[in-house]
Amino acid sequence: MLKVENLKLGYDGVPVIFDVSLEVHEKEIVSIVGSNGAGKSTILRGLSGLLKPMAGTITYMGQKINQVPAHKLVEMGMAHVPEGRQLFGKLSVKENLMMGAYVLKDEVTKKDCLEQVFELFPRLKERENQAAETFSGGEQQMLAIARGMMSRPKLLMIDEMSLGLAPVLVDKVMDSLKVINSIGITVLLVEQKVQEALEYADRGYVLQNGRMVISGTNEELLASDIVKKAYLGM
């Protein structure tokens, strides 16, 4: 579904991601893990079109998307839930969700989507008219994921959703990913919480200082020395 080859990304001409290749197949949950500053978010920014690649190719559904602007990619079924949620703070929950459904033309589909995310996160329905900025961190994260789902994506990319959440809440939002995946949405997850991310994912990639150091199924990664030593403290 998504194929990245030898991707190089950077800011103001200074590269921070070197020669990264990865692949996401349909219906999978794939995670990119690594410590703070490894370049995980930069990769997602590159994939969703916010950052233009300096080299390499990104292919999505058989089409090269290196130069496709971010808003077009949303129409093509890619959704990116950015780090730090990036909600529209002054807008209500419902308005945030409706902005998520911006690319949908059909009112009936929009309504369906809204019901679907309300079912997944009932908390949001209770507070649909409240401004997003008044929410707690966990609720904001739910809203960010829900907003990402409103465009009916085929591929949902989520950046650091555990950030600032209590462990109980991390489990809760991670569980919702399973549900999202079960309705046929492919998930690409970027996480600092290595163990949790790998537990929920089918496959994973480990990023260190802008380079992929190891990849494999979650069992392989959890058993590998690099992961054990660097991230699990064993």
């Binding site: 916010l50 990116h80 529209f88 002054k90 911006y102």
Partner: protein, 283 residues
């Protein structure tokens, strides 16, 4: 005194509409548009020429002028603003300043510095009497028209999909892109909308305001004061601040002399931003 206040309020509504246009581009795009007053100026010339050449009264040509200045706004965005959007802030400031010079001097080049007036407009300058107060009909039309259009803009921004997208883009541009919003298009619409506001104000004022290349300098300065006073990007704030400034100008002029009326306006402004730098209704 009541008479003075009514006159001030009447002006205030028009000031507010001009400021609403400015607050859109300032608040949403973070672009300080120094050419805002010149859009107003071109709107007034548009109303004048439509009246003079086609004999259509400014009240009736209102939609045409709105459309023309909407287009002027969109053009300004694509030809100038878009190119400096990602440059350091000072670049955009200088660009709009240059634009204002060009637009103002073009009017002088094409149509000379002479004063032009629209004579015998459909809505005359005769007054109607309400109790003790006399209010000029053309002022009433301008004030009511401005208020209605301000409400239209408020409705548009809060209730339509494009309007909410404008707000979303102003809060978080990159998140807006991730929603599939074409932010460049939203900016063009915002600039057009800003133009539409001043276009409307221009047509409404043109029947009782002399039209010449410097006609709008004052309106543009007041619009900046009103936007800052009302809170950047806050349309309702601009409406209230506009009325406040209109009142202050009239009452101040009455109490200490007409030549000092703007002294009162700017003192109010200076004091207000010392106490509340984000504006009276700012976030």
């Amino acid at each position: 005194m009541g008479q003075i206040m009514i006159n001030g309020l009447m002006n205030g509504f028009v000031y507010a509409l001009v400021a609403v246009g400015l607050t859109l581009t300032w608040g949403v795009m973070d672009i300080v548009n120094f050419a805002h007053g010149e859009m107003l100026l071109w709107g007034m010339y548009a109303a004048f020429w439509i009246w003079s050449l086609l004999s259509i009264d400014p009240i009736l040509s209102l939609p045409i002028v709105i459309l023309l200045i909407f287009i002027l706004g969109v053009l300004m965005y694509f030809l100038v603003i878009k190119r400096v959007l990602n440059a350091p802030p000072l670049t955009a400031l200088l660009a709009t300043f240059g634009l204002s010079m060009v637009l103002k001097n073009l009017t002088q080049f094409f149509w000379t510095a002479n004063y032009r007036n629209i004579t015998n407009p459909l809505v005359g300058s005769d007054s109607i009497q309400i109790g003790e107060l006399f209010i000029r009909k053309d002022y009433i039309v301008a004030a009511v028209g401005s208020l209605l259009l301000t409400f239209v803009v408020i409705w548009f921004v809060n209730k339509t999909k494009t309007g909410v997208a404008i707000k979303a883009t102003s809060m978080n541009k990159s998140a807006a892109k991730l929603m599939g919003i074409n932010t460049s298009k939203i900016f063009a619409i915002t600039f057009g909308l800003s133009g539409a506001c001043v276009g409307a104000a221009a047509a409404l004022m043109s029947s009782f305001t002399p039209i010449y290349p410097e006609a709008c300098a004052l309106y543009s300065t007041l619009a900046f004061v009103i936007v800052a006073l009302g809170g950047f990007g806050n349309i309702k704030g601009a409406l209230f601040a506009g009325l406040l400034i209109g009142l202050a100008e009239a009452v101040g002029g009455y109490l200490i002399g007409t030549s000092f009326k703007y002294l009162v306006v700017f003192v109010i402004y200076l004091v207000a931003i010392q106490i509340r730098p984000k504006g009276l209704f700012g976030w």
